[in-house]
């Protein structure tokens, strides 16, 4: 069995989330609150945390958190490279690597984002990519980068655009029923979405995720240690991160077959091979959707459907808990739960497997966390509330 399989676990979670620009504290303060909440959730002394992992250019260098947390020994601080959300799932694999190699024993995975402290996320992401080729073409924002790929997927590969609307609806359906979601209590009008203003074709406003202020933190320890803590462990069963030849930061010169994908083909192959699991074993999916089409491409990459049968699978009724066969984004996802660079999708993965979700999937045992799609480097992870 692969060394990652069921050997580490998330023992505690904490999240603080606000509307963009509305955080009552600066970024580091919100992050400290989320970490303390994750430790309290696990019944774990925050001073015992000895490692930290983040992704996506988080600005909070862990050594600066030590005074507020009471950290005694900092033994591991690292990030997944890449400016996009591609690293969100890989961060859990990096934390597990630290624990399994004995370099740290209690690692916090985190992401914090408060606009007043570190500016707009979209600008930070694009700082990784912008060059004169893009500026000359007027391509300056993630929405446009993803829109060009989406048009190719729709027009050349025959994916019907309507499936993107079903995915967005499912996220809003779940978010409207989740008290922790920004969309809680709001009724989503599908017609309003179809009429919302164009951003970059084929994307209208409602095809785009919108940033929130906040932070989330996850305490990871060895599986053995997690069983002695307060909450039921959510085991990491597998994690893969990276890119294959013909994909990456290639000025749109990706391999023609990979171009319209979300970059997950090699990630999914490794993840399933290393866990012995397949899409049929996944009870629920938490899907990072920066933009609607990339969420659909991610589901295709992970083997839940194909270009040919995507409309049979990515249907609103099939995507919602508790009745759908492929419940997706049961917390509301980036669209409707909230968007702190995708960390909320991991939060819902743990809630769902603990039976704490606002939209529970009956008897859910295995959850796929699919990280930021379309980024040059992407990652995914599989979690379970048991080690099958």
């Amino acid at each position: 069995m692969h060394p990652l399989y069921g050997t580490t676990a998330v023992a505690g979670i904490g999240m603080r989330q606000y509307r963009r620009g509305a955080s009552p504290l600066p970024e580091q303060g919100v992050l400290v609150e989320a970490i303390l909440a994750a430790c309290a959730d696990a019944g774990f002394d925050s001073a015992e945390v000895d490692g930290f992992v983040s992704y996506g250019d988080d600005k909070n260098e862990p050594v600066r958190l030590m005074p507020a947390l009471g950290t005694r020994d900092l033994k591991w601080s690292s990030v997944i490279w890449g400016g996009g959300g591609g690293g969100v799932a890989g961060a859990f694999g990096l934390a597990a690597a630290a624990i399994l190699s004995g370099q740290a024993s209690a690692v916090i995975v985190f992401r914090a984002l408060v606009e007043g402290s570190s500016g707009r996320l979209s600008a930070a992401v694009m700082a990784h990519h912008l060059n004169d080729h893009m500026l000359a073409a007027g391509i300056v924002a993630p929405a446009q980068v993803c829109a060009i790929r989406a048009n190719r997927m729709y027009e050349h590969h025959g994916v019907p655009q309507s499936v993107a609307g079903d995915l967005v609806r499912a996220s809003y359906y779940h978010g409207s029923r989740n008290p922790e979601a920004v969309a809680y209590g709001t009724e989503f009008d599908h017609k309003e979405m179809r009429r919302s203003r164009w951003i970059a074709e084929p994307f209208r406003l409602f095809d785009c995720s919108r940033e929130n202020d906040g932070a989330a933190a996850f305490l990871m320890v060895s599986a053995d240690r997690a069983r002695d803590l307060k909450k039921p462990p959510v085991y990491l069963l597998g994690c893969a991160n990276g890119a294959e030849k013909g994909w990456g930061d290639l000025l749109e010169n990706d391999d023609e077959q990979l171009y319209p994908t979300a970059g997950f083909r090699p990630i999914a192959r490794r993840l399933y091979a290393e866990t012995g699991l397949s899409p049929a074993d996944i009870d629920v999916v938490q899907l990072y959707e920066n933009f609607s089409a990339q969420g659909v491409a991610s589901l295709i990459d992970h083997g839940f459907c194909t270009y040919e049968n995507v409309a049979e699978v990515v249907r609103f009724e099939n995507l919602i808990a508790p009745t759908g066969k492929l419940p997706v984004n049961t917390g509301g996802g980036n669209f409707a739960q909230g968007f702190i660079h995708g960390i909320g999708t991991a939060y819902e993965a743990v809630k769902q497997l603990r039976g704490e979700s606002a939209n529970p999937v009956a008897d859910a045992k295995i959850c796929l966390l699919a990280g930021g799609p379309g980024a040059p480097t992407v990652s995914s992870a599989i979690f379970g509330n048991d080690v099958p």
Binding site: G119, R120, S122, A123, M126, A127, H128, L130, N131, D132, H133, M134, L135, A136, A137, G138, I139, V140, A141, A143, Q144, A147, I148, R149, N151, R152, E155, H156, R197, W198, I199, A200, E201, P202, D249, L250, L251, E252, N253, Y259
Partner: protein
């Protein structure tokens, strides 16, 4: 948009001959001695390991690989009238794909695979004119 001074400008990278070529009205693209076209431009060919890169002139003809029409006013696009169409163009006889802009006088949706021809124009960004291939449907 604040990009922290991280933007790479023309003429300081492996693609400098491309920018210098456009400034002279010519499309120059890099090819390794082994025949492999290198884009993004590189000083070493990952296929054969060769480091003899030749810059070959290509006609500004190609096909539309994909496109988007932008309606939202993003920072850095202030010099472009909304909406504007950005495309990925496959250059004929080499297969390199280039980012560029497409004339869109009647807002007719571009068609993937459609034939296009280009001319050199410029895009003004933050007071700087960046040479740009402006494509038209042929």
């Amino acid at each position: 948009m604040d990009c922290g001074g991280l933007i790479m400008h023309a003429n300081d990278g492996a693609d400098a001959p491309y920018w210098n070529g456009l400034a002279e009205g010519r499309l120059l693209l890099p090819r390794c001695g082994c025949g492999d076209w290198l884009w993004p431009a590189a000083n070493r060919c990952g296929v054969c390991g060769g480091e003899e890169v030749q810059w070959i002139e290509r006609p500004m003809r190609g096909t539309i690989f994909s496109w988007t029409r932008t309606w939202h006013r993003f920072g850095f696009t202030e010099s472009l009238d909304l909406p504007f169409v950005s495309i990925v163009a496959t250059v004929d006889d080499c297969g390199i794909r280039l980012l560029g802009r497409l004339d869109d006088p009647d807002q007719v949706d571009p068609v993937i695979g459609g034939a296009i021809s280009g001319r050199v124009g410029a895009t003004r960004v933050e007071g700087r004119d960046i040479p740009t291939i402006i494509w038209s449907r042929s």
